[in-house]
């Protein structure tokens, strides 16, 4: 036995064991970080909006309770939007607040839908609403509600149809798009003058839809589109 109370044999292998264990845990820690933090903090692009600085962001990221801080902060955002005292400056900090709430809790969909709806339909700050929804879609690629909202906002904002079409087409090609999204795409095609694509989609709705109302609407739309195409053709023959 040595002075520490270990047998001489234990005293020999104990330091080696500690070093080996330490190295293995250090190696595993580095390796696992790539899984826990799959992307470098800087490379997260629109997911983490570094323009919005806040003590809460730091507390959330450092404490390991990001989601808890995110939920608590989300209540503050709702209170901010519900407070009429903030209306004179048109809720100027709403986007920043929503952006921070989404950084803290990227999988909480109401932050994007509520924030984008308020920004686009009430405050008419379309670009901020789109940016918020883009963040949401990047963090939640399978979330249909966000794409639907994005499409709806772009549809509302009549000058940006060309930008919304690829988003809608991608969603519809995946096969799980709601009927409303197909309707929006068909209307968008019509707005930008892609009548043949619009006719193709309305025919699809007329054929596949379970709803009588939708089939009636599709038939009416097709009648109008055929008339437009016919007029265009006759104009070009002249």
């Amino acid at each position: 036995m040595n002075s520490l109370g270990f047998s001489d044999r234990s005293a020999k292998w104990l330091p080696a064991l500690i070093v080996a264990g330490f190295i293995s845990q250090a190696l595993l820690s580095s390796r696992l970080s790539q899984w826990v933090h799959p992307e470098p903090f800087d490379a997260q692009g629109p997911k983490v909006d570094t323009k919005v600085t806040s003590i809460l962001r730091a507390v959330g990221f450092l404490s390991g309770y990001k989601v808890l801080v995110g939920h608590a902060f989300w209540i503050k955002v709702i209170q901010y939007y519900a407070d009429a005292d903030n209306s004179p400056d048109r809720y100027s900090r709403l986007y920043d607040y929503c952006s921070l709430a989404s950084d803290l809790n990227p999988q909480f969909i109401p932050v994007y839908t509520f924030g984008a709806a308020a920004l686009a339909f009430h405050l008419k700050r379309i670009e901020q609403a789109e940016h918020l929804l883009q963040k949401g879609i990047l963090s939640n690629p399978n979330e249909t509600r966000l794409k639907l909202m994005y499409a709806a906002i772009a549809y509302q904002n009549t000058e940006k149809f060309q930008q919304v079409i690829p988003f809608l087409e991608e969603q519809i090609l995946r096969g799980d798009a709601p009927d409303m999204l197909v309707n929006i795409l068909a209307n968008t095609y019509q707005k930008v003058g892609r009548y043949q694509d619009a006719i193709h989609l309305w025919r699809k709705i007329l054929k596949d839809s379970d709803s009588d109302l939708e089939r009636v609407e599709a038939a009416q739309k097709l009648q109008k589109l055929y008339a437009i195409v016919k007029n265009e053709n006759s104009d070009s023959h002249r």
């Binding site: 845990q25 820690s29 970080s33 826990v36 390991g64 309770y65 909480f108 399978n142």
Partner: protein, 258 residues
């Protein structure tokens, strides 16, 4: 093995007698009540909010029990010299330490699982919701975190000379263990050599608690959790616990009981 189990059972009973299960009851009432209140105040998916906050409650109650257990047992074992009774028995110091860890972990696991059962029960039976698939993985990760922290806390107990010191060491290690991801990010920046060295030492010595932090990603559709990840996490948890245990063992051997 039998001796370790006996010490573990003794420790577990000691913690139960110290009213540690009341912490669980209080946590259930306070944290679940708080989660319920927050989910009502908020706008959005109430069950999702409740589940998120319930998972936080599970971790917080586990940590609370761990810190309180460390404080209580330091008082009885070290200050009131109850450790003399254990050391007088035919029991090696590593068996004693492993048994203590086992008892601590059993108490922590009971509190975490008890809290989890309440959260699941409320979500499914009262809210009529569905438990996310990653919830169960998250609970296992929490238990692994508690295992690592039990080893760490008891090692601090063997090293520390005061109860306050032991609790503070443990508390700040837990806090800093969650910052490991941000320390790694800092290390990728341009830093002064001394600062870089210091950060590297901190990075490799601290337990990487973010590895066990699945509660922030329970609803993350991009999270992949296959056997390879499980293997790495389990290996890490046991490797870190092993090193900490050896340090605790050496400290216990060195400690003079007068």
């Amino acid at each position: 093995m039998r001796k370790i189990l006996t010490v573990g059972l003794f420790t577990f009973r000691e913690l139960v007698r110290s009213k540690m299960l009341f912490v669980w009851l209080i946590s259930v009432v306070v944290l679940c009540g708080l989660a319920f209140l927050l989910s009502l105040l908020s706008y959005g998916d109430i069950l999702k909010i409740f589940m998120d906050l319930g998972l936080v409650g599970m971790e917080v109650s586990g940590l609370l029990v761990l810190l309180l257990s460390l404080a209580v047992t330091y008082n009885t074992e070290m200050d009131q010299k109850a450790i003399f009774l254990q050391m007088a028995k035919p029991l090696t110091k590593e068996e004693y330490l492993l048994g203590r860890v086992l008892g601590f972990f059993a108490m922590n696991a009971l509190v975490v699982l008890g809290m989890g059962a309440v959260v699941v029960g409320l979500v499914v039976l009262v809210g009529g919701g569905v438990v996310p698939v990653l919830f169960y993985d998250c609970v296992v990760f929490l238990l692994l975190e508690m295992l690592v922290l039990s080893f760490l806390g008891l090692t601090f107990q063997m090293i520390g000379t005061t109860m306050v010191g032991v609790v503070l060491y443990s508390f700040f290690t837990i806090l800093l263990g969650h910052c490991v991801g941000e320390i790694e990010w800092l290390l990728s920046k341009q830093l002064a050599p001394a600062a870089r060295f210091l950060l590297q030492v901190v990075y490799y010595c601290l337990p990487n608690l973010e590895i066990f932090n699945l509660k922030d990603r329970v609803y993350d559709p991009t999270l992949v959790l296959h056997w390879a990840q499980w293997q790495d996490v389990l290996l890490y948890a046991f490797a870190y616990s092993f090193v900490v245990f050896l340090i605790g063992w050496i400290s216990l051997e060195k400690r003079e009981f007068k």
